[in-house]
C-alpha cells in the first residue's frame, strides 16, 4: 500500500515538473496551432495576454492540487482495494485555510488587473480620433476633422460563402475598404451604432467595445508595427452578424498621409461625379455591384427577397421613381430593417442602384436615375 502511494506520488511529481519544464517550448507550439489568445501588437494587448496567462497558470496550479488529491483518493481509497471509510467530517482549521488562501491569490491577481484596467481606460491625449459607427451589417469610419469618411463592407463573395467557389485565405475577414491608421500614434476610437448594438473588436489591438445606439463609447490604440489586423463584430446584431468583419491597416505616418490625401481627392472626385451624366449601362453595371454589397443580404441576390421583400416585381421598384428614391434615401417608415441609405451611400451609388433595381430581375422599367436627381431629391427635403 505504502509503496503504491509512493510510486504514485513520484509519478505525479515527474508529470508536474515535466509539464512546467516543457511549458516554454509548448508555448511556441500553441502559438502555431492557434490555441491561445494572441499577444497582439500593442502594449494593451500584451498586458492583457500577460494577465490571461497569469490567471491561467494560477488555475492550472490549483487544478493540479485539487485534481491531484481527488485522483489520488479515487485510486487509493476504493472499497475494492479494501479501503475502510474514516468518519471525520469537520475541521474549522481546514475551512479557514481554504477560504483565506484563495482570497490571497485573488488579491495577487486583482492588483495587476486593476492597473491594466486603469491604463486601458485612459483615453486622454489622443493624437487623432476616428468615429466608428456600427450599421446592420457594416462599419462606417469617420476621420474627425479630416473630412474623410467611408463604409467598410465584407468583400468575401456569396459564391465562397455558399460553396460555389474555393474560400480565400482571409475568408470572412476581408473588407472592401479597411480602416487605415498611422503607427506610433495614440488613436482614439469613438464608437457608436446606428441601429442595434454591435461590438467593434480587433484581437491584435485588444480593443473590444460595444457600439450602442445613443452612446458614444471610447477606446484607443497605439500600434508599433505596420500591418493588417483583422477582427469581427462581437455582439449579435441580427442576420448578418457573422458577416461584418473589421480590417485595420496600420501604416507609417508618411504612407498614411498620402493615403489620407488620396482619400480626400477621391471624395472631391465623387462630388464632381454627381454633376456628371452617366449612360444607362454605366449606371446598371455600377448598380449591380452596389446592390450585391448593400441590398442583396436582405432582398436576395436575384431580387427574390429574403428577410426583406422581393425587388423583383415590387410595387416600389416598378412604381414611380420618386417613391423609389424616397424608400432608398429615407428608409421604410414601417420597417426599421430598411434603413435610410441617404447618408450611407453616395449620390452616384444611389442613382445606379435604383437604376439597377428598376431594370434587373425582369423589372424592365427602362428608366434610369442620374446622380444629380438624387442630389436634388435630397436637397428638396
Amino acid at each position: 500500500m505504502l509503496i503504491r502511494t509512493r510510486q504514485l506520488l513520484a509519478c505525479l511529481l515527474v508529470l508536474v515538473t515535466g509539464l512546467s519544464a516543457s511549458a516554454f517550448t509548448l508555448a511556441d507550439e500553441i502559438e502555431r496551432w492557434g490555441l491561445n489568445m494572441t499577444q497582439g501588437v500593442t502594449s494593451t494587448s500584451r498586458d492583457i495576454y500577460g494577465l490571461h496567462m497569469d490567471i491561467f497558470w494560477w488555475c492550472v496550479g490549483i487544478g493540479v492540487v485539487v485534481f491531484g488529491v481527488m485522483f489520488y483518493t479515487m485510486i487509493v481509497h476504493r472499497k475494492s482495494q479494501g479501503a475502510k471509510a474514516s468518519n471525520f467530517h469537520e475541521s474549522t482549521t481546514l475551512e479557514i485555510i481554504w477560504t483565506v488562501v484563495p482570497f490571497l491569490i485573488l488579491i495577487v491577481m486583482a492588483i495587476p488587473a486593476t492597473n491594466s484596467l486603469l491604463k486601458i481606460y485612459d483615453t486622454e491625449e489622443a493624437e487623432m480620433d476616428v468615429l466608428v459607427t456600427g450599421y446592420q451589417w457594416k462599419w462606417k469610419y469617420e476621420y474627425l476633422g479630416e473630412e474623410v469618411s467611408f463604409f467598410s463592407n465584407l468583400s468575401t463573395s456569396r459564391d465562397e460563402i455558399e460553396g460555389r467557389a474555393p474560400k480565400g485565405p482571409n475568408y470572412l475577414l476581408e473588407v472592401d475598404e479597411p480602416l487605415v491608421i498611422p503607427i506610433k500614434k495614440k488613436v482614439r476610437f469613438l464608437i457608436t451604432a446606428n441601429d442595434v448594438i454591435h461590438a467593434w473588436w480587433v484581437p491584435d489591438l485588444a480593443v473590444k467595445k460595444d457600439a450602442v445606439p445613443g452612446y458614444v463609447n471610447e477606446s484607443w490604440t497605439y500600434i508599433d508595427e505596420p500591418g493588417i489586423y483583422r477582427g469581427q463584430c462581437a455582439e449579435l446584431c441580427g442576420k448578418d452578424h457573422g458577416f461584418m468583419p473589421i480590417v485595420v491597416e496600420a501604416l507609417p505616418q508618411a504612407e498614411y498621409d498620402s493615403w489620407l490625401l488620396a482619400k480626400r481627392e477621391e471624395a472631391s472626385k465623387l462630388k464632381a461625379l454627381t454633376e456628371k451624366t452617366f449612360s444607362f449601362d454605366e449606371l446598371y453595371a455600377q448598380g449591380e455591384q452596389r446592390y450585391n454589397t448593400s441590398c442583396a443580404a436582405c432582398h436576395g441576390s436575384s431580387g427574390e427577397g429574403g428577410v426583406g421583400p422581393a425587388i423583383k416585381g415590387s410595387t416600389i421598384a416598378t412604381g414611380s421613381v420618386f417613391g423609389h428614391l424616397g424608400m432608398v434615401v429615407n428608409g421604410s417608415a414601417n420597417n426599421p430593417m430598411m434603413a435610410a441609405y441617404g447618408p450611407q451611400l453616395s449620390e452616384v451609388d444611389i442613382a445606379s442602384v435604383i437604376t439597377y433595381q428598376r431594370n434587373a430581375f425582369g423589372n424592365n422599367m427602362g428608366d434610369s436615375v442620374q446622380p444629380i436627381d438624387v442630389l436634388k431629391f435630397k436637397q428638396a427635403q
Partner: protein, 516 residues
C-alpha cells in the same frame, strides 16, 4: 383508507400528489432537453465546416435563441423543480408539498408556455432570433413579430417558477418532521430553499423587463429606444440583474444533489456541512452584486468596472470551499463508482474547470478579449452541462430505484456516462481554443482557422446527443424492469427517503417520523 392514484389521464391532469407532479416535471423537462438538443445539433451541423450549408443565417439565429431558452427555462429549471417535488417532502418527512393545488397549476401552465414558444418557429418572420439574452433594440424595434408570443411565454414560465418557489419555501419552513431543525436538513433541501428565494427575487425582474419590451413594441414607450430618449444599456442592467442569479438558480440545486450522492458512495459523511450551507448562502448573496460582469465591454465607468470585477472574483472563494469540501468528503472514504457517483465526480471536475474559466472571465481587462467569444460559450457550457445536466442525470440514477422500485442497468448507465463524458468534452473543450483564437459566438459561418476545432466539436455534440437516447431507454427499461430494489437501494445512504419502501408508496409520512 389510503387513496391510490386515480385512473387514466385525469390522474395526471388533476393530481395534487407531489410524486405525480414531480414525475410530470421530469418527463416534461426531458422532452424539452431533447427538443433543445435537436436545436443544438442543427447549430453544430451548420458549424461542422466553414461556409453556409444547411441553414440560412436568420434560421441559425432562431436556433441559438431557441436552444438557449428551451434549455434554461424548459430543461434545467423544470428538472430541478421535479426533483424538489419528489424529494423535498420525503427528505423532510412531510406528507406532501404545502400547497398541492398550486403545485398542479404551476406545472400545468408550463406545457402551454412552451407550446406557445415553439409555435413561433412556424410563424411569419420566424421564431425569436435575438439570442436567449434578447438584448434591446434587436429584440424590440428590430424583432420579428413573434416576439410578443415570446414575451407572453416568458411571463407564464416566470409565474410557474414563482409559484413553484413559494411552494418549496412554504413546504420547507412549515412541514419539517419534528426534530428536523434547519441545520439537520439534507443539503439538497438547503440549496433548494436558497434557490427558491433567488427565484422569488429575480423572476419578477424578468417579468418586468419583458413587459417593458412589450410596452416599447406595442404601446409607444421608449424604455430601450435611444431615439425616443430611452436607454439600450438599461435593458442589459435589468436583464442581468435577473440573469446572474438565474445562473445560480440552475447550479445551487445541483450542488445539493452531488452533496447527497458523494457521501453515499464514499461511505463517509459530507465534510463541512455547516460551511456548505454558509458557502451556498454567500454565493446566493454575491449573485445579486455581480450582474454587470456580463457587460464589461458596454462602456461602464471604470469604478463600476472595478467593483464588478472584485465582486465577481470573490465568488471563487465560496465556490472553492464547496469543491474542497467534496474532495475532502471523498478523502479516506471507501469508494465505489456506480453511475450516480461517476456523474457526480465528473460534475466536481468539470464544474471546477468551468469555475476556472469563470475566474479568468472575471478579470475585466482579460474579459475584453474573451467577451462574446466561444471562450464564453465553453465556460457556461462547462458549468451548465456537466454542472446542472450531469447533476440531474446523477439524481435520476440515484433516486430512480426509490421512485419506481426497480434497479437500473448499471452497465448501460456506465456506458451512458462515458459516452456523455467523452462527447461533452469533445464538444466544449475545443471551444476554449477557438474562442481564445478569436471566434465570436453566435455566428453561422467562420474564418478558416477555426475549422478543425469546430469539426471536432460537432462530432462530440452528436455523440453527446446519441448518448441521451441510451439514457431514455435505460430509464424506461428500469420503470418496466424486474430487478427489485431494496428500500435502502444503496449501501447505508443518509436520509429519510431511504426509510420508506421502494417504490415509495403513493403517500409517505402521513404521520411524521421522529428525527433525532
Amino acid at each position: 383508507m389510503a387513496h391510490g392514484p386515480a385512473k387514466g389521464f385525469s390522474r395526471w391532469l388533476f393530481t395534487t400528489n407531489h410524486k405525480d407532479i414531480g414525475t410530470m416535471y421530469l418527463w416534461f423537462s426531458f422532452a424539452m432537453f431533447l427538443m433543445g438538443g435537436v436545436f443544438a445539433l442543427v447549430i453544430r451541423a451548420e458549424l461542422f465546416e466553414p461556409g453556409l450549408q444547411i441553414v440560412q443565417p436568420e434560421f441559425f439565429n432562431q436556433m441559438t435563441t431557441m436552444h438557449g431558452l428551451v434549455m434554461v427555462f424548459g430543461a434545467v429549471m423544470p428538472a430541478f423543480v421535479g426533483l424538489a417535488n419528489w424529494l423535498i417532502p420525503m427528505m423532510i418527512g412531510a406528507p406532501d408539498m404545502a400547497l398541492p393545488r398550486m403545485n398542479n397549476w404551476s406545472f400545468w401552465i408550463l406545457p402551454f408556455a412552451f407550446a406557445m414558444l415553439s409555435s413561433t418557429l412556424l410563424m411569419d418572420g420566424g421564431a425569436p432570433n435575438f439570442g436567449w439574452t434578447f438584448y434591446a433594440p434587436l429584440s424590440t424595434t428590430y424583432a420579428p413579430p413573434s416576439v410578443t408570443f415570446f414575451i407572453f411565454a416568458v411571463h407564464i414560465m416566470g409565474a410557474s417558477s414563482i409559484m413553484g418557489a413559494i411552494n418549496i419555501i412554504a413546504t420547507i419552513l412549515n412541514m419539517r418532521a419534528p426534530g428536523m431543525t434547519l441545520m439537520k436538513m439534507p443539503l439538497f433541501v438547503w440549496t433548494w430553499l436558497i434557490t427558491a428565494y433567488l427565484l422569488i427575487a429575480v423572476m419578477p425582474v424578468l417579468a418586468g423587463v419583458v413587459t417593458m419590451m412589450l410596452m416599447d413594441i406595442h404601446f409607444g414607450t421608449s424604455f430601450f429606444d435611444a431615439a425616443g430618449g430611452g436607454d439600450p444599456v438599461l435593458f442589459q442592467h435589468v436583464f442581468w440583474f435577473f440573469g446572474h442569479p438565474e445562473v445560480y438558480i440552475m447550479i445551487l440545486p445541483a450542488f445539493g444533489v452531488v452533496s447527497q450522492i458523494i457521501p453515499t458512495f464514499a461511505r463517509k459523511p459530507l465534510f463541512g456541512y455547516a460551511s456548505m450551507v454558509y458557502a451556498t448562502s454567500s454565493i446566493a448573496f454575491l449573485s445579486f452584486i455581480v450582474w454587470a460582469h456580463h457587460m464589461f465591454t458596454v462602456g461602464m465607468p471604470v469604478a463600476g468596472e472595478l467593483f464588478f470585477m472584485y465582486a465577481t472574483m470573490l465568488i471563487a472563494v465560496p465556490t472553492g470551499v464547496k469543491v474542497f469540501n467534496w474532495v475532502t468528503t471523498m478523502f479516506k472514504g471507501s469508494m465505489t463508482f456506480e453511475t450516480p457517483m461517476l456523474f457526480s465526480i465528473a460534475f466536481v471536475i468539470l464544474f471546477t474547470i468551468g469555475g476556472f474559466s469563470g475566474l479568468m472571465l472575471a478579470i475585466a481587462p482579460a474579459d475584453f478579449q474573451y467577451h462574446d467569444t466561444y471562450f464564453v460559450v465553453a465556460h457556461f457550457h462547462y458549468v451548465l452541462v456537466p454542472g446542472a445536466i450531469f447533476s440531474i442525470i446523477a439524481a435520476v440514477y440515484y433516486w430512480l430505484p426509490k421512485w419506481c422500485g426497480n434497479m437500473y442497468d448499471e452497465t448501460m448507465g456506465k456506458t451512458h456516462f462515458w459516452l456523455a463524458f467523452i462527447g461533452l468534452n469533445l464538444t466544449f473543450f475545443p471551444m476554449h481554443f477557438v474562442g481564445l483564437a478569436g471566434m465570436p459566438r453566435r455566428i453561422p459561418d467562420y474564418a478558416l482557422q477555426f475549422a478543425d476545432f469546430n469539426m471536432i466539436a460537432s462530432v462530440g455534440a452528436f455523440m453527446f446527443g446519441a448518448a441521451q437516447i441510451m439514457f431514455l431507454y435505460n430509464v424506461i427499461a428500469t420503470i418496466r424492469g424486474k430487478h427489485k430494489a431494496t428500500a435502502e437501494v444503496w449501501d447505508n445512504p443518509e436520509g429519510l427517503e431511504w426509510t420508506v419502501a421502494s417504490p415509495a408508496p403513493y403517500h409517505t409520512f402521513s404521520t411524521p417520523p421522529e428525527v433525532k
